[in-house]
C-alpha cells in the first residue's frame, strides 16, 4: 500500500516533479546547446538558447585542439579492462563465499567487506609510491590494477548466488563434474542478470573516475577523458563550446546506460548499493 496525499495534491506533486525534473535535465540539455555554438556566441555573454548556425564542426575541431581520440581510447581501455576483471573475479569470489565451506571463510569474508570502509585516499598514496618505483605511472596497468575487484561487486554476487538451490551443485558433483566446471557451467549461467547489472555499473563508474587517473598519469597521451577535458578547459577556458562538445562525448556511455537500464535503474542502484 502506498501512502496517498490528499486529492488535488496530485497536481501539486506533478508541479514539484516537473520543476525539479527541469532543474535536473535543463543544465544537461544546455550542454548540448553550448556544444553547438560558434566561438562568438559562447564569448558574447548573451544567452544563446539556440545557436544561429549549428556548429557541428566543433566536434572535429575538438579532436584537433587536443588528443581527445587518445583520451577516449585510454578511458575505454581502463574502464573496459576493469569491467572484464570484475566480471571474471567478482562472481567467482562471490560463489566461494556463498556456497563453499572451508576453514578461514569468516575471516576472509570479513576482511574483504572491511575494505569498504577504507577511503581511497588511504591506499592511494602508498599505491602511487609503489607504482612510481615500478615505473607504472603513465601506464595502462597503473590505471587498471588498483580497481581489479571490489567488495561491492563480490558482495552483490554472493547475495545473488546464495539463494540458488544447492541441489544443482550436488547433482553436478554426483555426475563427476570438477569444481571449476560446476562454477562455470552450473552457477555462472544463472547469474546473467546480476552480471549485466555489475558490468554496466562498473563500466559507467570507472569511465567517470576522476581522482586516480589524475594522479596516475602525467603525460598528455595517457590522460583519460575526464582528466583531459578539465585540463583542456583550463588551457582554453574561453572555448566553452569545445569543452561542452568534449563533455558530450564523455556523456555518451552514461546516456546509453540510462536508455538500457531506465526500467530497473532505481532497483539496480538500491540492489547494488553502489556509492
Amino acid at each position: 500500500m502506498r501512502e496517498r496525499l490528499f486529492p488535488g495534491d496530485r497536481v501539486a506533486a506533478y508541479v514539484v516533479l516537473v520543476l525539479l525534473g527541469l532543474v535536473t535535465v535543463l543544465p544537461l540539455l544546455y550542454m548540448i546547446v553550448l556544444a553547438l555554438q560558434s566561438d562568438g556566441e559562447v564569448q558574447s555573454g548573451d544567452p544563446v538558447l539556440w545557436p544561429a548556425d549549428l556548429q557541428w564542426g566543433n566536434f572535429t575541431r575538438l579532436f584537433e585542439a587536443a588528443p581527445f581520440g587518445r583520451f577516449f581510447v585510454n578511458s575505454f581501455v581502463m574502464a573496459g579492462a576493469i569491467t572484464v576483471s570484475h566480471l571474471v573475479f567478482d562472481p567467482l569470489v562471490g560463489y566461494v563465499f556463498a556456497k563453499l565451506d572451508f576453514p578461514g571463510k569468516r575471516i576472509a569474508f570479513v576482511a574483504v567487506l572491511s575494505t569498504l570502509m577504507v577511503p581511497f585516499f588511504v591506499r592511494m598514496l602508498p599505491i602511487y609510491s609503489i607504482f612510481a618505483s615500478l615505473g607504472w605511472i603513465d601506464s595502462y596497468q597503473g590505471l587498471i590494477v588498483p580497481f581489479l575487484m571490489d567488495a561491492y561487486g563480490i558482495f552483490l554476487m554472493r547475495q545473488f548466488i546464495r539463494p540458488l538451490p544447492d541441489e544443482l551443485i550436488e547433482a553436478a558433483r554426483v555426475d563427476g563434474a570438477g569444481e571449476f566446471r560446476i562454477y562455470l557451467r552450473v552457477i555462472l549461467p544463472q547469474c546473467k542478470p546480476a552480471l549485466a547489472v555489475l558490468g554496466l555499473f562498473t563500466f559507467v563508474f570507472q569511465w567517470n573516475e576522476f581522482l586516480w587517473p589524475l594522479i596516475a598519469t602525467s603525460r598528455t597521451e595517457m590522460r583519460t577523458l575526464p582528466i583531459g577535458l578539465t585540463l583542456f578547459n583550463q588551457e582554453y577556458f574561453t572555448q566553452w563550446n569545445l569543452t561542452a562538445a568534449g563533455a558530450l562525448i564523455l556523456f555518451v556511455p552514461t546516456a546509453i546506460f540510462f536508455v538500457i537500464t531506465q526500467k530497473f535503474l532505481v532497483e539496480g542502484i538500491a540492489l547494488s548499493g553502489l556509492k
Binding site: M1, E3, R4, R10, P126, E179, N208
Partner: protein, 283 residues
C-alpha cells in the same frame, strides 16, 4: 576427504582475490600507518609528530572546519530534497518510473562534466544563470567568488539528490500501509500522517542516509577541485583537497599519510556506527 578438497578448491579460487586485497588494500594501509611516522624527507622518524602537527596546522584546521560546514549543508538540504522526492514518487503517479530515473542522471554523470557545466552556467561573464535571473528582474550573483562554499553545496545536492531519493524510496517500501489506514480512520490529515508515521518510521533510513552522506562528503575532492580549484583563497579547500596539496604540491608524503590516517579513523568510526545501527534496526 570431500571437505578437504572443497577447502582446497575454495582457497584456489580465492587466490587472485587474496593477492589483490593483500597487495592493494592491506599492504598499502599498513604502509600508510608507517609512513605517517616519517618526516617530509621520508627518512627521519618523527613518531606521532605529524599528528600533533596536523592538530596545530591552521590550514588543516580550516579545511576540516569548512568540510564540516560543507557536510552539514549538503546533509540538511540534500536529505530534505531526497526525502521530499521519495515521498512524492512513492505515490502511484503516471510517469513515476521515468521521473525516478531522470532524477538519477546527474548521479551517474562524470564529476568532470558536472563541475565544468556548472562553472560555465555560474560564470558572471558568459554564464546563463545570471542572464536568466536578470530576465525575471532578479540581481545576478558572483556565485563562486561571493558564496563559494554554498555554491559547491548546491551543486553537490543537485548531483546527489536522486541517489538519496532511491535510499528513501527503499525505506518507504518498508512502512506497512496499515498504519496509514488506521491514521486515516482516526481522522489524521496528510501532514499529520507524514509527521506522525512516515518521519518517525524513516528514522533508521534517515540515520543511514546521513552517515553514508557524511562519509562521502568527508572524502569530497573532485568537485571543488574542478569548479573552484579550492579557491577563492582556500574558501573551498576541503580536507581531501588539503591532503592532495600536501602530498602532490608540497611532496610531503609523511604528513599526507598522517592526514589520511586521521581520515581513516573518522570514516571507520562512522562506518562502525552505521553497522551497529543497521544491526539494531534489522533485529
Amino acid at each position: 576427504m570431500i571437505r578437504r578438497r572443497q577447502a582446497l578448491t575454495a582457497w584456489l579460487f580465492l587466490t587472485p582475490a587474496v593477492l589483490f586485497f593483500a597487495l592493494l588494500f592491506f599492504v598499502p594501509i599498513g604502509n600508510q600507518l608507517l609512513t605517517g611516522a616519517y618526516g617530509s624527507d621520508g627518512v627521519s622518524f618523527v613518531g606521532l609528530g605529524n599528528f600533533t602537527r596536523a592538530f596545530a596546522d591552521p590550514e588543516v584546521l580550516h579545511s576540516f572546519l569548512i568540510t564540516l560546514a560543507y557536510a552539514a549543508g549538503t546533509l540538511v538540504v540534500g536529505t530534505a530534497v531526497g526525502l521530499g522526492l521519495a515521498v512524492i514518487l512513492n505515490q502511484s503517479l503516471r510517469g513515476r518510473t521515468l521521473f525516478r530515473s531522470v532524477l538519477l542522471i546527474p548521479y551517474l554523470t562524470s564529476v568532470s562534466i558536472i563541475g565544468l557545466l556548472w562553472r560555465n552556467i555560474l560564470d558572471p561573464q558568459v554564464g546563463i544563470l545570471n542572464r536568466l535571473l536578470e530576465a525575471v528582474g532578479l540581481p545576478g550573483q558572483t556565485w563562486l567568488s561571493t558564496h563559494p562554499l554554498a555554491t559547491i553545496v548546491g551543486i553537490t545536492v543537485w548531483s546527489g539528490a536522486g541517489y538519496t531519493m532511491v535510499l528513501f524510496l527503499a525505506g518507504l517500501q518498508g512502512i506497512p500501509g496499515l498504519y496509514y489506514e488506521a491514521a486515516r480512520i482516526d481522522g489524521a490529515g496528510p501532514w499529520r500522517r507524514f509527521f506522525a508515521i512516515t518521519l518517525p518510521l524513516l528514522a533508521p533510513t534517515t540515520l543511514f542516509v546521513s552517515i553514508i552522506g557524511l562519509i562521502s562528503t568527508l572524502q569530497q575532492f573532485a568537485l571543488p577541485y574542478i569548479v573552484t580549484g579550492g579557491g577563492p583563497g582556500n574558501a573551498t579547500s576541503l580536507y581531501a583537497h588539503r591532503l592532495f596539496i600536501v602530498a602532490f604540491n608540497d611532496n610531503d608524503f609523511g604528513y599526507a599519510s598522517a592526514l589520511s590516517v586521521l581520515l581513516l579513523i573518522v570514516v571507520l568510526i562512522l562506518s562502525l556506527a552505521q553497522l551497529r545501527i543497521g544491526e539494531r534496526t534489522d533485529a
